[in-house]
């Protein structure tokens, strides 16, 4: 059970302005926003790993993870065009308004992982919800051990936040491994599904925590690989997505097993996920 954030926007969305739109990869765009009301913006405090409910006026509302770090990071959402509401969002231009409720959910457990090695394993747009955690950990670099990112996507055209990854590669001590599924012309990085990077990256086992996010197939093979490497099921952390309507634990659409993704999640350890008794 998560404790609601002080100042969370619960029922009536607050109006936000889209300041800038950035094309990321096919069908995915990043929307930088700020609240119309400055007081709301000041009170809008997020924890890394939380999500918001985003209203596209005239179309509806959808749940979306927050990719920005709580500190010194520009508020934005990265959204794939997949259903009718996100399609409507993609029609908007800079200067248009959206509505936001939240932030909701438990967030990543940073206090519990201090001093440990941190491994990020992401597939495709699974990098979006992990971005806030990566930025946060880099901002607090001395509090953690080795920091590793294993990232894969179908092709180099499908790499999210390419400009950030290029920056991350330059950071001393941040081990960044990026792969594409199939060989392609001009690609000099690694080739293969992301779980095949676990071995070559010599992922540490002792005092290590892994954050995993990506499509169900990728998720399952990565988990298998990490467990085989010796990681314990409570040292693997993931963030789940579900069909959501309310965000505050009432509509029950996001129920998995005996938990609700909106209030008990979206961040779960693999030990918890195993006991939920449902597909990811």
């Amino acid at each position: 059970m998560s404790v609601p954030n002080a100042g969370a926007i619960v029922t009536v969305p607050e109006i936000a302005v889209i300041d800038e739109i950035k094309d990321e990869i096919e069908d995915v765009r990043t929307y930088y926003f700020s609240f119309e009301n400055n007081d709301v913006g000041r009170d809008f405090r997020v924890k890394s790993g939380q999500f918001v409910m985003c209203t596209v006026f005239g179309a509806g509302e959808f749940a979306v993870s927050l990719p920005f770090s709580p500190e010194n990071d520009r508020p934005h959402l990265s959204v794939r065009r997949v259903g009718h509401v996100t399609r409507a969002l993609h029609e908007l231009r800079a200067g248009d308004k959206i509505g936001l409720r939240g932030p909701f959910g438990n967030g990543f457990p940073f206090d519990a992982i201090k001093g440990r090695n941190v491994v990020y394993v992401a597939g495709g747009i699974g990098l979006i919800p992990l971005r806030s955690s990566i930025v946060h950990v880099l901002q607090h670099r001395p509090e953690f051990g080795r920091i590793i990112l294993l990232y894969g996507a179908r092709s180099s055209k499908d790499h999210m936040y390419k400009y950030m990854i290029d920056e991350w590669k330059k950071i001393p001590g941040f081990e960044v491994h990026v792969a594409v599924d199939r060989p392609e012309e001009g690609w000099t990085g690694e080739v293969g599904f992301v779980h095949t990077l676990v071995g070559p990256a010599s992922v540490p086992v002792k005092d290590t925590v892994a954050f995993v996010c990506g499509p169900p197939l990728m998720f399952n093979s990565v988990i298998k690989e990490l467990l085989a490497a010796g990681l314990k099921d409570d040292a693997i952390i993931s963030t789940l997505e579900r069909h959501m309507k309310c965000g505050i634990g009432k509509c029950q659409h996001c129920a998995i097993g005996r938990t609700l993704v909106c209030t008990d999640g979206p961040v779960y350890t693999y030990r918890q996920i195993k006991t939920l008794g449902e597909q990811i």
Binding site: P13, G83, K245
Partner: protein
């Protein structure tokens, strides 16, 4: 405790109508089927009616309602969002013990968890509740098995128990006391509590002979469901009988799942509407992009019975999620109302025990 002649029930409803919108069991047409609905005329409320076809939850959780509306002007790029003010006080007159238990479940779920559901809270606040003891059970009833009847125990302003030509008029709040004074009721005297207890005992004694459609002792089943001892074949057998009509959810006094949709109006605005939903529908968990983590029908059936009968959900309600009203058994086109599911699972447990 006070005493109120039965022929004064009209005066009770009329007195409440001065300050509240009245809701209660009414007989809207010649079918004789009682509905729990708005009574424009206080005289329409029938305290002697059988248990209503629909649960009173629609008073606090309407089948469909607007929770807010907004207008977005594309040219000037301005948005205005308005939330309706739903402060008209409501009185529930003649709610049965099972349904009152159901309402208290909704209170604990909507108001008592991490977040308060503001829409529900607005319906619920300033409410006056007159509960009605079932002095004899109806054929569909099994509140004695779910510990939610036949007499209301908490959450009421007034509880009525019919004895001969009178009602024992028990107050549960200062508001209830004020109503007793307003109606000029007589004190019931020292024997009243014993008389009520005798009446309730007599009602319980009639369940065996009269509540013939249901025998659903749920405690042992709850234990087994919570511990995960129910085999997949059992859930599949149950799932096979589900027509995915959602009727069980709609008539259930504790089912509280809802959908939210933004509906554009002819006038150029948008209403955000929430409406009842059911976990038995396939689209309930389907995400944009068509990924549906909960696919087979038995997965979804399993979810509903888990919600009503497992410990994890009972923690949120502070009691089992089933209140024994028997409505789902009446409406299910298959044969998997809660009572039948409980009976079926108990039989399986017995069989397993005999092996």
């Amino acid at each position: 405790m006070y005493i109120m002649p039965k022929n004064q029930s009209g005066a009770l409803a009329a007195a409440l109508a001065e300050d509240y919108d009245l809701y209660g069991p009414i007989l809207p047409d010649a079918s004789g089927e009682p509905l729990f609905d708005r009574a424009e005329d206080p005289a329409a409320i029938r305290l002697d009616a059988a248990i209503s076809y629909n649960p009173p939850k629609s008073v606090v959780f309407p089948q469909a309602e607007r929770i807010l509306s907004y207008r977005y002007d594309k040219d000037s790029r301005t948005a205005a969002i308005v939330r309706d003010d739903l402060v008209r006080p409501k009185a529930l007159v003649g709610i049965r013990a099972c349904d009152l238990s159901g309402l208290l479940c909704l209170d604990r779920f909507y108001l008592g968890q991490e977040y308060v559901d503001e829409v529900y809270r607005d319906h619920r606040k300033k409410m006056f509740i007159v509960a009605n003891t079932c002095v004899r059970p109806f054929p569909q009833c099994f509140c004695v098995c779910t510990d939610s009847g036949p007499a209301p125990r908490e959450g009421f302003d007034v509880a009525l128990t019919g004895v001969g030509d009178d009602y024992l008029f028990e107050t549960g709040s200062e508001k209830g006391e004020a109503l007793a004074r307003k109606l000029g009721l007589k004190e019931a005297g020292p024997g009243a509590a014993a008389l009520k207890a005798k009446t309730v005992d007599a009602s319980i004694a009639r369940f065996d002979a009269e509540a013939t459609q249901n025998k659903a002792w749920i405690s042992r089943v709850m234990n087994r469901i919570t511990m995960g001892f129910i085999g997949n074949d059992v859930w599949e057998y149950i799932g096979d009988q589900c027509f995915e009509c959602g009727a069980c959810s709609f008539v259930c006094p504790t089912c509280s799942c809802f959908n939210i949709e933004d509906v554009n109006t002819r006038e150029g605005g948008t209403d955000r509407k929430r409406s009842w939903d059911s976990c038995s529908y396939e689209g309930y968990t389907r995400m944009a992009g068509d990924h549906n983590p909960r696919h087979p029908v038995e997965d979804r059936r399993n979810k509903r019975f888990f919600c009503k009968l497992s410990f994890s959900q009972s923690k949120k309600y502070l009691r089992p999620g089933c209140v024994g009203c028997g409505r789902c058994n009446r409406v299910c086109p298959g044969d998997i109302g809660i009572a039948n599911v409980v009976t079926y699972i108990r039989r399986e447990i017995t069989k397993a025990g005999a092996k």
